[in-house]
Symmetry: C2
């Protein structure tokens, strides 16, 4: 089996990506970053998903991106709520974490090089509402070119680096359908950018809204919400 590093945040997209990597025959090495995200609940989700999926190894690294600041996801700006997702705001959302995917991929690249593989999976998505520059196909292509020059395996021509982004052109509903077909247990995942106590989703941030829209389009209840009381308005 070919090894692959899979970036696993604990969200719906990365859980689906992990299942796809396994379905394609890769032996997954899951990598999670504890970067000071306010949605720490996703770290527990990542651990649950890794365990349930039987990955070869699950590594959680610590790197405190709050030291840089500049993002709603690391605490110094408020997470937007109740936005109309059909009317995208101008520019890049405040939930963008500066260079986060570049940092994540660099860590994945380091581990891939030690494992002797050039295959890296990540759950980025360019459709639905995103607006993050580091989720675009042209970004990933440029990253691959850079990574081939950066590494021993690239320089010595053993391997080229391939970034697998199987969700990049899918809608949230298509992602959920694919995951359900592969047996992903979405009850284990967390999407909310601003969860309350015990990781309870706020249901009002972009991530919660996108997730709800996806399950509604699929016509299937979100297993994460089963058993949670309806929030009081």
């Amino acid at each position: 089996m070919t090894k692959a590093v899979v970036l696993l945040s604990g969200g719906l997209d990365s859980a689906t990506t992990l299942a796809i990597a396994q379905a394609e025959g890769y032996e997954p090495y899951a990598l999670t970053l504890r970067y000071g995200q306010r949605h720490q609940a996703e770290l527990a989700s990542a651990a649950r998903i890794a365990r349930a999926s039987g990955v070869a190894e699950h590594l959680t690294l610590d790197l405190d991106l709050r030291r840089f600041g500049g993002s709603a996801l690391t605490g110094d700006l408020a997470v937007p709520k109740d936005r109309d997702l059909d009317t995208p705001e101008a520019g890049i959302p405040v939930t963008y974490v500066p260079a986060r995917n570049t940092i994540l991929l660099s860590l994945a690249l380091a581990w891939a090089e030690v494992l002797g593989t050039g295959d890296i999976f990540l759950g980025v998505n360019a459709l639905d509402y995103s607006g993050y520059p580091d989720c675009r196909p042209e970004y990933l292509a440029a990253y691959e070119r850079m990574a081939d020059l950066a590494t021993r395996m690239g320089a010595e021509k053993h391997r080229t680096i391939e970034l697998h982004a199987p969700l990049i052109r899918l809608t949230k509903a298509q992602i959920i359908r694919k995951g359900l077909a592969l047996g992903v247990d979405y009850a284990l995942t967390t999407s909310c950018y601003d969860p309350g106590t015990a990781g309870r989703p706020c249901r009002r941030c972009d991530a919660c809204q996108l997730r709800a829209k996806g399950f509604a389009e699929v016509g299937s209840p979100d297993p994460l919400l089963a058993g949670l009381a309806t929030p009081t308005p």
Copy 2:
């Protein structure tokens, strides 16, 4: 003044690079990574250099690259000693840390984006003995292209990312001459890959040998060695 992020390891090259950035009129924000390097002495050197240079800010981040393994510099392989630097070994040395410069640059990129600058300085060098793939000019050019696509500032065309590598084509002697002309105090720097107690250089690893050769060519004593006793053979 234009802000610039300067990668500062605490070694001779990065101290010189910092002095060059200042001489070119940039306001330096120095970034150091505590990654589990066996030559931890360089962290104290970085702090001393930052203080002596009057940087705008010095940020030391923690990220334990020992979790990945695969390098002599993070502990699981022996640091080569007494090699003949005029006869380069085949391939990439074991002191190569997988994807280290890519990780360092990604962190610099995140900070640069928050600071609102596209200028990043790093002390990589493609001459002398190196052999690290992530020190080559073509790697840096590919990184710049990727970084422009990765970031808010690149995507919104405020700024493009520029990696300044002023030492890339210089020999160690040329670097030292330049630094001495700029008033760099090399007594504050550390180069050894495998220092003994109290950060004492081994004088036998590649880094020590290159440094000694550089000072010899300049015809100037290494101020770091002043006061240290000659090692018993």
